[in-house]
Symmetry: C2
Subunit: 409 residues, 2 copies
Amino acid sequence: MLSIQAALDTLPRTPELLSTEVCSLDVSHNRILAEPIIAPENSPPFPKSLMDGFAVAADTLRMPPGADGFVTLNVVATLLAGQIPAVTLNPGQAIRIMTGAVVPEGAAAVVPIEQTRFDETQPALVSVQPQQLQPGLNILAEGANVTAGAVLLDRGVALHPGRIAALAEFGIAQVPLHRRPQVAVLPTGDEVVHYTQDPPPGHIRNSSQPMLAAQTLAAGAVPHLLHPVRDQPQLLADSIRKGLQSDVLLLTGGVSMGTHDFVPRELENAGVAKVFHGVQMKPGKPLWFGQWSTQNHTCYVFGLPGNPVSSLVCFELFVRPLLCRLQGLPDPPRHTARLTSPFSVRGNRPVCQPARLFLQNGVLHATPLRWTVSADLNAITSADGMVLLDPEQPRADDTQIADAWYWYR
Amino acid sequence: MLSIQAALDTLPRTPELLSTEVCSLDVSHNRILAEPIIAPENSPPFPKSLMDGFAVAADTLRMPPGADGFVTLNVVATLLAGQIPAVTLNPGQAIRIMTGAVVPEGAAAVVPIEQTRFDETQPALVSVQPQQLQPGLNILAEGANVTAGAVLLDRGVALHPGRIAALAEFGIAQVPLHRRPQVAVLPTGDEVVHYTQDPPPGHIRNSSQPMLAAQTLAAGAVPHLLHPVRDQPQLLADSIRKGLQSDVLLLTGGVSMGTHDFVPRELENAGVAKVFHGVQMKPGKPLWFGQWSTQNHTCYVFGLPGNPVSSLVCFELFVRPLLCRLQGLPDPPRHTARLTSPFSVRGNRPVCQPARLFLQNGVLHATPLRWTVSADLNAITSADGMVLLDPEQPRADDTQIADAWYWYR
C-alpha cells in the first residue's frame, strides 16, 4: 500500500492543460489566465496631473523668487479632468488643473493649490515658490505605469479583483481563460439515496455528493451530479461511462473489500487504468485512482471512500492538487501549524485529522478535532482544515508542530 | 479628520441583519445561515456496522473459548448495506454483515472478517475470539453522532462543504439564509468612460467598477453596476437615487477638494446623512461615509476615492466589515505579519501598503510592494493583502511587525 507521499507522486505533475476559452472580463473573477496579457498601450496614456493645482511653465523653476520666495504667474486657462489642453504653456504662464487632467505641453510641474497663493476673486494670477519645485513634480508621465508591449499579467494567474482592474484599465474586455475543469460526482451504494429523498428503513441519505459539489466549486471547477447508483455492476458501468466524459470523475463508496464493492472492477472493465488502490492513511485508506484516455480526452478517476469525512479529506489531499494542475496553477500550499494542545493518534497509519486552523499573533495554530466515525458531524462542521499526525512519532508537548492544509481554498 | 480606528468605530456595530430567504441547499455554498438548524432525527438513524465482518449474539462474549481462543458460531444470514434485518440473533448465532448495514437485534458486537476464521466454502460457520470482544465493538449506535433536537448548526455560520454535508445527511434540502447584500457601484468623473469604451483623448477607462464588482462578489454580495456618470449635479443626483435602492452604494471619484467634486454635496442633497468625510490614512484620505434611511430601508453609502488602489483599500478596510455585519458574520480578521525586509513610509498619515502575504514555517510574512501612483499596476496585480505602516514609528530591523489584512477573503 502506498504512503501518502508516494500516492501524491503518482498524480500527473504537468498534465495537459485544459483548453482555452475566451470570456468577458465581467465574468472572469477567480478564473485562470491561459495566455500572458501584453499591455496594448501606455499607462497612463497621457501625462496626468496627480493634484488639484497649477501646471507651471518650465521657466518657472529657474525664476528668481522675490523676498518671500514666491513668483507670480499669469493663469491662462483651467483644465478639468477629461478636457484636452487647447493651449501650450509659455514662459511666465500657469494653467489651473485638476487631478487626472492631461498636463499641457510646456508644463514642467504641477503645484498643489495649497502650496500656492491664489485668490479666487483674482483668478488670472497665482504665486508659487520656484525653490519647492522639481521637473515632473506631481505629473505622472505617459507610460510611467506600464509601457505598451510589456507583460501585464502572466499566464496561470488567477484573476482577482486587482488584476481585473489592471485589465479593465487597458480595455481588455475579452480574456483567454482555461476552461473550468468538469467534475462528475457519482455516489454508489445500495444503502444510499439522494439527499432529497426519504430513505427507506436501513438506508441513509447520501451527504457526500452535495459536499463534493461544493468542494468542486470552491476549487474553481464545475460539478456534474450523477444520480446515486446501486451496487449493481451493469448500472455502475452505465454511470461510469457517463462520468468518464468529464475531466475528473469522483465516485464515492464501493472501493473497500466488501463483497459488494464493485467499483474497482467496473472501473477497470470500463478501461480506466488503475494507478493505485489503497493509501497508508486514515481516513482514506481504500482510495482508488486511475486514468482513462482516448485520443482526444483524458479523465482522471478517483474512487473515494463512502464515509463523508474520508471523501472530504481525499478530495482536499489528492483531487484539489490535480484540479489546480489542470489549470496551470501551483498546488494548494502545505503549511506548518502549532497544535494548541498535545494531541496523539493511535493505529499504524498517518492520520489526516480535521482541525480548526487560525492565525494568532502571526503564527498558524491548529486545534485538532476529535474525529471518530461517531463524531463525524462535529468534525466536518467545525473544521476548516486538517493536520497530518503520525502515530509512530509521539511528540513532546512543546514541539507540537504538524503539516497542515486549509480546506476549501 | 478621523483616524482609521475612529472611522471604523463609526460603522454600525450591529446593523439590522438582512432579511431571510429560503434557498435550495444545492445553491447554498458559502451562504450564511439566518436561523439555527435543529437535527430533525437521530444520526445515524439506526445502529450501523462500521466493518465488513460478523455480527455476533450477546452470549458470544461470555462463551468459554477453546484451547486456541476461538468459539464457533452458526452463520444464519448475510446483511448488506441497505438491507433490513429479517432475523434476530439468538445465542450461538452470527450474521455476516457489511459496512453500513443495520446491525440486527440481539447483536452485541461486529467482528471484522480479518479477525475471524472463515472459509467461504463453508459459509454456515465462523470462529471468533470472545476475549477480543467488548459490547458495542464496531457498532455505531443510533443517535451516537447527533440526537434529534440537538443544534446541528448555529445561525451566522457560512455553509462550507462540510456543513452542507451535515445538512444533507438530515435531508435538509431548503435552508434559511441571509439575503446577499446588494451593492451598487457608481463611477463618477468627466474623464472616465466605461472600460469597454474607447476613451476620447484626455479620458481614461474606469477600472474601479469591475474591480469593485469582483471585490463585492468575493465578499459574498451581489454587485449592481450603474453606468459611469459625469461630474454634473443633476446626472449625479439621478444616479445616486437609483443606487440608494441597494443595501450599500459605492461611488468612486468626486470626493476630493477639486472644483468639480460634487459627490459629497449631491449625497447630502439626496438625504444621505454624512457620518464622516476624510480619514487620516494613505491612500484613502478623501473617503466619505454616510447613511440613508427610510421607514423600511437603509442604504450605507461610501464615496470612495477615484484612484483604483485607493478604492480597493477602502473597500477592504471599511466596506467589507460592513458587508460581514449585515449578514451576522464577524469582521474579517486583522492579523499580525512579519515584514520580509525593513520598509518605511513617509508622510504624516498611516499607510495601508499593498503587500504579498504568505505563511512560511507557520509564520505570517508580508512583503510590502512599492506602491506609488506611478506603480499602481504592479501593486494591485501582485498584492493579496496590505499592511498598516506608521510613518511616525520607524522600527528596528528585527522587529518589523505590522497589522495585516488579507484581501478578497
